[in-house]
Assembly symmetry: C2
């Protein structure tokens, strides 16, 4: 049996490589490892009590994700927060998520049309339902610190529902960077943003691809404006 409750997602049963990768990424996003920090495989291996090999693979993956930069035979350093790219990243995200929402709606329509229920589709759909419920509870109880993670899982879930692995992969990358942009100011995207998720989900469930695309586009656009207003002062 898994532990009944996970206060912080420790992922104790994951493969060491994945565990280390998630841990380092988290440390970078939360600022525990500030930009410019030098990272060596040996030090991390000792810290986590494992060999260099999984650490090495984790670091390479994080390099592909844009969190660390490594030079051959010279070690890795933590990249700078892409704060200058914020507006552009949001622009790309807007195009990307509009597409995933529309495709998710198309998938939903196909799902209800054909009599053959797709196991995978229903699993994701049920998970999204739970995410929405959890978010509503969090809003009611004013536990806004839980929203960022739930928000990310919602958007990635929609991407999964779209059935497109390449779009979902791209979104994962951008979502990580945007989470990094919000840094420690995590609890501020607010209740209004969360409320919009229900409308997006409803449009997808109804199979209204145009509505879903539009709702998601406006939703992301508001996020973008909110961010730029608060952080960039524009």
């Amino acid at each position: 049996m898994p532990s009944p409750v996970r206060p912080s997602p420790d992922n104790g049963d994951l493969a060491p490589k994945q565990r280390v990768q998630d841990e380092i990424r988290r440390d970078i996003i939360l600022g525990t490892l500030p930009a410019g920090t030098r990272i060596t495989e040996t030090a991390l291996a000792k810290k986590y009590g494992i060999s260099r090999v999984p650490v090495r693979e984790a670091l390479h993956a994080l390099e592909a994700e844009g969190f660390v930069e490594s030079k051959p035979f010279a070690g890795s350093t933590v990249c700078a927060i892409p704060v200058d790219d914020a507006d552009d990243l949001f622009a790309v995200r807007e195009a990307l998520e509009s597409a995933t929402a529309r495709r998710a709606a198309e998938q939903a329509a196909a799902q209800f049309a054909s009599g053959a229920p797709d196991e995978r589709w229903w699993r994701i759909r049920k998970e999204l339902a739970k995410i929405l419920d959890d978010g509503d509870v969090a809003v009611q109880r004013d536990e806004l610190h839980r929203l960022p993670e739930l928000n990310m899982r919602f958007h990635l879930g929609i991407a999964e529902l779209s059935g497109s692995a390449s779009l979902a992969g791209l979104l994962r990358q951008i979502a990580n960077k945007i989470e990094w942009l919000y840094a420690s100011d995590v609890g501020s995207r607010g209740k209004q943003a969360w409320a919009e998720h229900r409308a997006i989900m409803a449009a997808i469930d109804a199979g209204h691809s145009g509505d879903a695309e539009g709702a998601m586009g406006r939703h992301v656009h508001k996020s973008r404006e909110g961010y730029m207003r608060r952080f960039s002062g524009k």
Copy 2:
């Protein structure tokens, strides 16, 4: 001295890991390794005469790029060509490259304004000049098979010129997938598309960020329409 001419980019002096990674990606894009092909580390290690470790890292990188899919303890398989995602990938690329072109123009303006010349900037700018010249020569001689690679290098070069590592990284990912979409039909994007590159470069050099953004956006949009017309029959 490096070999004077490289008929096909063999990259004989790169690190084994990088070499293998590029080779496998190329085999996948060109169709030598069709979708669904099973890939094992041992087989590749024997094929390239190296150990499993660099092969393993190359495969993980290709998984992050979306070319192969691996399951724990079960091996990897070549992913399917994301042909259904073509239109969406082009849409994302349009947003992305509009941003890189605008930022590249801003960088150019800053470059000419301040008296301090940036070594890196000029290196990339000179490389772009050479790419443009090579492309023109290829067009004049009707060697259209050379255009796809030059085209990719031009667009990635503009991204480098933008100075944004995160945007450049995203474009690399999308560009790989789009090259995959064109598959073996590589020589067909035509002379007209290439001619537009000069106008984009001129707008960037002039520091006209709006013009650069617009020209690049229209350029990519035409590519998108061309692709969808020829391949998707829409």
